[in-house]
């Protein structure tokens, strides 16, 4: 028998200029239960979170708390009503202390209206201890590493006496050790009778912790139900509107000659002695925990950071890569992990984003030729099945997945020898993910050498011909063929071998 929902949304509508992000959706959250919210990129999941936390005002519909209609005119009031969230974006401030980060907006005050720093600190320490985080409450946030920051974000969500806790893709930036800790936390919260809304694109975790599910598609509600007895395929079908049969369509490719040889690449603080060879037509996976330094190595190969030692050969020739421009000239391109900051040039139209590194080819003598640019952009974006209204639309108006396609198109248009994809499917829904994988296979099939950095084991195993595992800035192992098993990868990534030896 089902208890009454703590929080219900009915007929919520939210429109942005040109987009109807939510179109009369409903959602129920029950005490002591985890409800998973599932949907493609741009389905409106984060938007509903923002409506629930008072950041956006709905254009229509009702929010019912214990059956009573309420409004959340700002973030404060949602807080007071006991609704708290770990947002998809980080909501933290570098220059403030951990305690201040946890309590900003609702800090305890003294009689004089001043912030009561002692009380704030004590309460912060208590919360941090409660989630097993060993972080000094007085430290400045900027001195913390990524994992600690995440714990602070969680502590912040727990700092109010919440009845409803929302987690919007909380695991996207976590490695599996922290993910395991998060699961425990969710269990604790459930036991405390809190209602939890859990948003994720990863089905394994949804099946592991959720009790109920709700699916959105294109801003509309398409269904809800109990987790027990529901098949993954059914959820996927509801979500995408069709069935997605093959998730990892790795085709056997013709592995050719070595294209890229990296020998002894080192950096004073980030990585050391990186040595590997990449062949034409090969997909080389790079696995490791978040913060293992994979992105750092890739960015050095792309000329962003300079290695202090080591050499890199392309097609047998030694190339010194001091800038991204030189890397592109040498035929190495990089699809960054941080799409918003490093990938898309928001403010420029799609076609200009695509031609940015190819202007020498589309133009003549330094002058632009728009017709050529449109042609190039059209060719590559259509091959990637981009969904856009027009090519001179600002890239910022596209959904995350489509922005990723533009960035990939941008690099393919330079006809590279090596393409590095850093977490190419992070935060991408299952349908688009399949498209990206499909396309990677196709590229490799055409003889392109591909490096894929990923933190998802199924993806690494499903797509790679060979896997290199990194730990703390060093190569911890290389696996191919039969040795490419989840156990081997995880052992190498967390360094279990070493611990056992000691």
């Amino acid at each position: 028998m089902q208890p009454d929902p703590v929080l219900s949304l009915r007929g919520i509508v939210k429109t942005f200029p040109g987009v109807r992000a939510l179109d009369g959706v409903r959602l129920d959250l029950f005490p002591g239960q985890v409800t998973a919210l599932i949907g493609e990129n741009g389905a409106g999941k984060s938007t509903i979170v923002k409506v629930l936390t008072g950041i956006y005002q709905p254009d229509g519909g009702q929010i019912l708390l214990d059956g009573q209609p309420v409004t959340f005119p700002d973030a404060q009031s949602a807080h007071c009503a006991g609704v708290t969230a770990i947002h998809q974006e980080t909501v933290l401030f570098d220059e403030l202390t951990v305690a201040e980060n946890i309590f900003i907006g609702h800090a305890p005050r003294t009689r004089w209206g001043l912030i009561d720093r002692r009380a704030m600190r004590a309460r912060a320490e208590k919360i941090l201890r409660g989630i097993g985080a060993d972080i000094p409450a007085g430290a400045k946030l900027r001195d913390l590493g990524i994992a600690s920051r995440h714990l602070v974000a969680i502590a912040r969500a727990l700092s109010v006496d919440a009845r409803v806790v929302i987690m919007d893709e909380p695991t996207a930036a976590l490695s599996h050790k922290e993910i395991a800790e998060l699961y425990e936390l969710v269990e604790t919260l459930k036991r405390q009778g809190k209602a939890i809304l859990f948003i994720s694109h990863k089905f394994d975790e949804i099946f592991r912790i959720a009790d109920r599910w709700t699916v959105f598609r294109d801003g509309t509600f398409v269904g809800e139900g109990e987790m027990a007895g529901t098949e993954e395929a059914e959820l996927v079908r509801l979500m995408v509107g069709r069935s997605v049969d093959q998730i990892y369509p790795k085709r056997p490719a013709q592995i050719g000659d070595p294209v890229l040889t990296v020998a002894g690449y080192s950096h004073p603080t980030e990585f050391e002695d990186i040595t590997f060879t990449l062949h034409a037509g090969e997909i080389l996976g790079f696995y490791g925990l978040v913060g293992a330094g994979r992105s750092e190595v890739m960015q050095a190969l792309f000329g962003i950071t300079r290695p202090s030692k080591g050499a890199c050969r392309i097609d047998g020739q030694v190339r010194v890569l001091r800038s991204t421009a030189q890397a592109v000239d040498a035929g190495i391109v990089y699809v960054p992990e941080d799409r918003g900051a490093q990938g898309a040039v928001k403010g420029l139209p799609i076609f200009q984003n695509v031609t940015l590194p190819s202007l020498a080819r589309t133009g003549r003598a330094g002058f632009l030729r728009l017709a050529e640019e449109f042609k190039l952009a059209r060719d590559y974006t259509q091959r990637l099945d981009l969904r856009a209204a027009s090519l001179d639309q600002d890239i910022a108006l596209l959904s995350g997945g489509n922005q990723q396609k533009v960035v990939i198109a941008k690099w393919l248009a330079t006809r590279p020898r090596v393409i590095i994809l850093d977490e190419p499917t992070k935060g991408i829904d299952i349908g688009s993910k399949a498209a990206v994988h499909d396309f990677m296979s196709e590229l490799a099939g055409q003889g392109l050498a591909v490096i894929m950095v990923s933190s998802e084991i199924p993806e690494v195993l499903g797509m790679s011909d060979r896997v290199i595992v990194m730990r703390e800035g060093r190569i911890a192992g290389e696996f191919a063929g039969d040795r490419m098993t989840p156990e081997n990868l995880v052992r190498a990534a967390v360094g279990i071998d070493r611990k056992e030896a000691a």
Binding site: F302, T324, V328, Q382, D385
Partner: protein, 327 residues
């Protein structure tokens, strides 16, 4: 997978339709309105020679404004342009006192402009310091060097030929400065809107990190933009020195803010990433018309600056206010 490929149209709105709704058309309307107002307000306004004199109110500042516009589009700013003029003018005076002829004097001015630009560029692009504060510093430094060289003296007695730049006419009422201004407008307009370089400038202004991750040599372009701004300050120094016929360290005081005002009025976003040279040209003309028209009515300069300040805020605020009231 190409089976499902859909056609994406290149454009939904034609460039002409866009132009009609642009900032530049608004400025054009403002310029025409002020022109008509001036014609009605003063009988002296519609006189070719007077209009020709009026161009001096903006030509030198506008020359710098073109380069500054590119710099601001790229997300940087240079507040030292007035000081560069002072230093370049001082260098020209030194060249003259060493017996140099007109060509060498001009070269000294342009060269100094380039050097100052390179100095700013090295600090901003090379060391990665924020341009607004760097150029507040070099603003004192460059002008300070002028003061060290000149003290309370002045350079006078430039050769007769040198007067051509700031006082000469190319044809009838068309001044040399107006020709340089027009030429600079065309060159910078082409550079920003028709070349790969210009495209990269926009990319840097919108997202410098992503621009770098797209294989653009961001720092090199920033450096070049500071060089260009220095160079154009040098050109303005040649014109202004020639027009004044003398050099003092206090020359071109306060130019930087007027240049920035022209650029911003021209619709260039101070946050970088958007704006056009045409807008800057129109803004320069609007400023010139306003100051000259009010000057003919003997309105004190400070009252004119109120008008310019109000214009600056008003032109930006009113469209926003209207769209706010609509929703």
């Amino acid at each position: 997978m190409t089976a499902t490929a859909r056609q994406i149209p290149d454009r939904l709105t034609s460039p002409a339709a866009r132009a009609l709704k642009s900032w530049e058309s608004l400025l054009l309307v403002v310029a025409v309105a002020i022109f008509l107002l001036n014609t009605m307000a003063s009988p002296y306004f519609l006189d070719p020679w007077n209009l020709s004199d009026a161009t001096f109110n903006f030509t030198e500042k506008a020359m710098i404004a073109f380069a500054m516009a590119m710099l601001i589009v790229a997300g940087e700013i240079d507040l030292s342009v007035g000081a560069i003029i002072a230093l370049a003018s001082t260098a020209m005076g030194m060249a003259m006192s060493l017996g140099a002829g007109t060509p060498l004097i001009v070269l000294a001015g342009l060269g100094t402009g380039l050097l100052c630009g390179a100095f700013n560029g090295a600090l901003v692009a090379g060391l990665g310091l924020p341009s607004i504060v760097v150029t507040i510093g070099t603003m004192s430094l460059f002008r300070g060097i002028s003061y060290i060289v000149l003290g309370d003296t002045a350079f006078t007695g430039y050769p007769a030929g040198f007067a051509w730049f700031g006082q000469g006419y190319v044809f009838w009422v068309i001044t040399v400065e107006l020709v340089i201004f027009t030429f600079a407008a065309v060159v910078f307009g082409t550079l920003l809107h028709r070349t790969s370089f210009g495209r990269m400038v926009y990319a840097i202004g919108n997202n410098p990190v992503a621009a770098r991750f797209s294989g653009i040599r961001v720092d090199r372009i920033r450096f070049i933009l500071f060089l260009l701004t220095g160079l154009m300050s040098g050109v303005a120094a040649v014109c202004l020195t020639s027009r004044l016929g003398s050099t003092r360290p206090s020359i071109a005081a306060g130019f930087e803010l007027e240049v920035v005002t022209i650029v911003v009025l021209g619709g260039v976003s101070i946050l970088g990433g958007s704006g056009t040279i045409l807008g800057v040209v129109l803004a320069a003309i609007v400023m010139g018309l306003v100051t000259f028209g009010l000057g003919l009515l003997n309105v004190p300069g400070i009252v004119m600056s109120i008008v310019v300040g109000a214009l600056l805020i008003g032109v930006i605020a009113i469209p926003r206010l209207i769209s706010k009231l609509r929703t």
